[in-house]
Structures are given as structure tokens and as C-alpha cells.
Amino acid sequence: MQNHENPTPKSRVYLDHNATTPHSPALKAKWMEFIEISGNPSSIHQDSRIPKTILRETRQKISDLLSCSPLEIIFNSGASEGNSSVLKSAFNTLKETRNEFLVSQVEHPSIIKTAEYLISQGAVVHFIPVSKSGMIDMNFIRSKLSHKTALVSVMYANNETGTVFPIKEITELAHAQGALMHSDCVQLLGKAEVAFKELGVDYATFSAHKFYGLKGTGFCYVKKSTPWVPLVHGGGQERGRRGGTENVLGLAALNVVLDEIKNCGPKISEMKRLRDLMESKILSDISNVSITAKEGQRLTNTSSLVIDDVDGETLLMSLDLKFYSVSTGAACSSGNPEPSPVLLAMGLTRAEAQSSLRISLGWGTTEEQVVNFVNTLNEVVTKLREINLEEKKKENVG
């Protein structure tokens, strides 16, 4: 029997914070209190008072954080809803005069698939290339922008590589042509400190579960006087912009988490220290590893590795069995383990994309976890490479 006595951690170590984050400890502490809240915020009787307050306070906190008006915030189920709503709003209101869209090639499927849908409805979509080093093609944007452009949509940062895009510059280009600007900002809050207002965008989309809140809770920033068509029609909630009884508990949870977001600067710095420590240890301990888009500006918590001669899927399983949660690409595409379309779009080869591993740290990640992780990664990579070598030898003999 083989030896399974490798030092595995006592409990699972979560290093997949770009997929989702654990609930914040402050939120967990409040949970039993929240579960008592069951009123409908739209009711007239007094049971609606607390839910109404939660909505108002949470909306106010978001507008403080983003330096915008509370009226510019629409609550929804998360960024996939937000992204679909934004693209369809721009198309449905502007299609007679402007029916062209610019969308980066590395956007989330909720953008790419909506764009493909708009193409089927008669829109023209230009997909903006992103290089292997993570640079977005600004010349492409300049060349395709025109008086026919309805909307430009570029994410704040890419979920797989952590690459941060120059949203402010792109917004200026878009606005100069009278086009609207949207940014999928799911990887912003809790991972970067940005003066949001300076980005200048007309739309931005957020999901609470990416920053220690609950799944199914999100919001959309829609600048005053910007076109909007509701995706869900209903009872007039969100000033008629999004029907359906509000997700009161999700928003109560968001309210708690927003207090932590305000003061997360030191946490972001610590994630950067640990990520850099991790990367330098990986590069020094393990041979033939490269870090995708390391040259450009990146989120402080994300590391996308290409580990030569190792299958990312097998590596993920091996690490999982040793209690480490990491990812090979976007979580949405696992279960159907094809190489990541984002990495392929960035010009990685199929082999490189299949040898990719994404590690994304969080507020709770410790130095001990990171160091042990790299040691385990080294051990697993060594073993997998040995097996690959044996197999190749066998094939050559056979």
C-alpha cells in the first residue's frame, strides 16, 4: 500500500477567492439576528419597517463607497443579471442609432453570451483582443469606436489572471465618441482600493459573494440619465427598474460586509505580500513554471500559473484530495473541463491553458497556509511529472 502520510492540513485551505469568498466572520455573528427579519419592504404595515431600513442603509453605504447617489444603485441577484441587463438596456434603447458594441475577449460568459445573443438580434459586436501579458488592445478600441458604438464593456480586472484594465482611459475614448461605458466590477471590491467615481463609467456591476457576502445578492451602478430597461418586470421595486421582492437578508448581509470593505486597505496589502511571497517561492522551488500576465498591473490576490508537463485538471484533483481548494479556470466552466477560453483568447496554447492553475488568496489567508501550499504543490507536481515521464517511456518502448 502506498504512503498517504503526507502532511495535509487539519481542515481545508481555501485558495479560490475569485470564484467565491467565505462569509465574513462579522456576517456569521449577525446571522441569527437576521433570520428573524421576514417582513416585505413594500408592505404598508409596521413589519416592513426593518426591511425598508435595511434597503435604505445598504443603498446609502454603497453610494458612499462609490461616491454616487443612492438613486444610481439598483439591487439585483448579482453580476450575471447586472451584465445581461446592461447590455440589453443599451441595445434596446439605442439600436436605431447605435447598434455596435465593443466587448473584451476575456469577459465573463454573462457578457460574452449576452453579446452573442445581441448579435442574433442584429447588433454588431467587436471583441477586443487582450495579449498574453494582459494588455488590452487600445488601438483596436480606437479603430472600432465610432458614432455607431452604443456601449463598450471591459471588466475592471480579469477573474482568471487578475489583470487590471485601464478603465478610465477606455471610458474617455468611449465618451469621446458618445458611447456608453460599462465595467464588470465583480473583482474590485475587497481586492483593490479604487476611487470608483474616477473610472467615469456609466454602468458597473457587482456581486456580494465575491467580497464575503451572500450568493444571489448584487447591485448595479447606473449613472443618472443612462438608458435602462428592466430585465425583470414586476411590482415596481427599485423604482420600476427591477421587479421582484428584494433579497432582504442578502442585503442585510451586504450591509455588514460593506463596513469591512471601507477599511480593507491593510488586508489588500497583506494579500499582496503573501501572493508575492507565494510566487517567488513557487518560481524558486518548482522548475518550468511561468506566471501569466505577471508583467502588467494585477489584482493583489491572484496568481495564474502555467506548470509545464502537468495536467491542470489532475493537479486540481490531487490538491483537492490534500485539502487545498484551487481552480484551473473560471468556476462556471468546471464540470465540463475544457481549457479556459479566457486563457486561449489571451494567446496561451491549448497545452499551456490545460496546464494552468489559478490561485486566489483572500482576507483570511495566512503565511503558513501559503508556505505549506507551495510545498504540497511542489510535491504533487514532482510526482505527476514522474508519472508522465514513465508513461512517455512506456509509449516509446511500446
Binding site: Q2, M317, L321, K383
Partner: protein, 369 residues
Amino acid sequence: MLDNQTKPKSKGRVLVAMSGGVDSSVAAALLVEQGYEVIGATMQVWDYSTCDITEGNGTCCSSIDVDDARSVADKINIPFYVLNCEAKFKASVIDPFINAYLNGQTPLPCVNCNTYLKFDHLVKKMKELDCDYLATGHYAQIVYDENNHAHIKTSTDDWKDQTYFLFTIDPQIVSKLLFPIGHLKKPQVREIAEAKGLVVAKKKDSTGICFVGNKGYDNFIKEQVSSKILSTKKGQLKRYPTGEVMAEHEGIHLYTIGQSKGLGMTYHEKLFVLKIDADTNTVWVGDEKDLYSNEVEVIEPHWLSEVTDGSEYEVKIRYQHKASKAIVEKTERGIRLKFEEPQRAVAPGQAAVLYKNQKLIGGGWITLN
């Protein structure tokens, strides 16, 4: 949670191939009960994105089956992974399957799936995931001889026995294999699934070829192969032995040896497909008595145990075939089998598999020439 002192020591780590069917689900559940550390894996072998979601019932490779395998894994509380094997499955199972039909043979895709996926790809995964064993839900048994060598033996369920599909297994890995349900009969397997509350307990048995489903292999081939290529397979039905042309046919891929229905012609007596000549696209039809042959040529053999020239073995020439006695004569390309009793409808492309006292000795591919 058990602490380290009371937790029983694992009997080893096992990777179990879970198709989402009742057999492999029970195999996994039994291993857990026996004290192994079990990891479940399903090979995704076909792109189901365009499939009708109601198609999954009773076949072993639809996405609904992946969901079933996952829910069984959850129920018995083991880690579970989906392995993407689509490209490998297409290259080593689907393409040869189609080519065999286009060349007038009767393919046996389950053997290729075992050769190139279950007992190759998964063996590699077993090593990579630090597992001691690989388990499947096959109706087959592992037995050890006096020298402690592992052998494959037929299942106690004669009707379900699947050792016929296992003759290409590398003898080196037999000691690494576990067939947890091989000593059971199908009704017992269902009872265990029921008792353990597995969602698959009442699921239909997979019948036929998993990727073909209910549409039939001729429709499958029509979907996969261009009509231009299929039109080159048209030819004549000829009467054996006179050579009289009976009819034109739409393609040799629509015929298998022994077939008597749907020949595309009418005749006053019942005729059978005796031989398919791929070079001339001729399908030979004739009397049932001419379907029988005593000698069978076998090529590309794989042996799990030593085979003795001139000895008698029990031989199966198709899956649902009652093994018949034959003397083995070694040839340059493999073996020649001389059957005691004449065999009906020996089909090129199928396997001839040898046994001695229920022990799987090996086998090879039946050929005409």
C-alpha cells in the same frame, strides 16, 4: 468526526469508475463499506450539449448519468470528479466504430473503451491520485492462484458476465483492479442499491452501445458520416454460392453477419447475410447452414496468461455467446481456433475470447482472411 485513534485504518485508496448506473454505484458503495478510502470519477466521453435531455435513460454515458454518479458519490460521501475524455473517446472508440462498419465489420466499441480509457487513462489517474487500486462495476472477479498471481475470472452471474470485454487488460495491472460486484447477481446488486438508498436503484440497465442510444447504429452512422462517403458504400446483394445478383443495397454498413431481417429484398425463402466483401461492396446472402464455420482466424491477440499451442479452451466469439470448446493453433498473426461444434455467424471485428475453468486467458480479433 472520528479522531485518529478510533478511525479504522483504511484498506487503501481506490479510484472507482462511476458511470451513473446501478452497477458502478453499488461497487463504490461496497468499497466504502469495506473500509477503503474511495474516490469516484466519471469519464465524460461525449458532448451532450445538443442531446435531448430525455435521452439519458438507460444508457451509460449521458450527462444525466454524470449527475446520477455525482449524487451517489454525495450520498456515500466520497470525493467525485468528472474527467473530460471526449477527444480520447472519439479517437479511440467512436472513429474505429464507424470505420469498422464502413469496412464491413461488426465493431466492439466496449473493448476499445476498456483498452484506451477505463484500463489506460484511469490507470494513469489512479497513479496520479495516489490510489492503490482501480475499481469498476464490471461483472468479473479477481482471483489469486497459489503463486499469488492475480487473474480475472468470470462473474457468478453468467448472464451478466463482462469478462469478454476485458481481454486487452495489461496483465501487470490485474492485481491493482477491484471488481466489487463480480461475485453478485444483478438482482442482488439492485437490492443493495435499494437498501443503501441510492437514486439509481431502479434505473434501467444499459443496453446496447452507450453513445448510439435508442436511435440505432445505422442512424448514428448517418449522423456522423457525410452522405458522400456513405454513397461510396453502395453495392449489390448476391446469392451464395451462385453469385446471382438479388438486389442493389444502400451501403455495406447497414449489414451484419447473420442478419436476416431488413435485407432490402424479398425472396421466397429466408436468407441470411453470410459475408460482407468491403473491396467490392458485395453483401453475400444465403442459407442458414452456410452461416456455420468450424475454423476462426484470430489476429492481434492479447494474453493475460500463457496460451498453449494445441490445447483446448472455452471460447466466446461474441458477448452473448455460450462459450464453446475449441483447439488453439498458434499462427504467425495470432491463433486459429478449431471448434468442436460449428459456430453460427462468426463476425469479423468481434473478439474471440479464451477461458480455462472460468479464468480469462486472453483473446484477439476475428478476421476473415
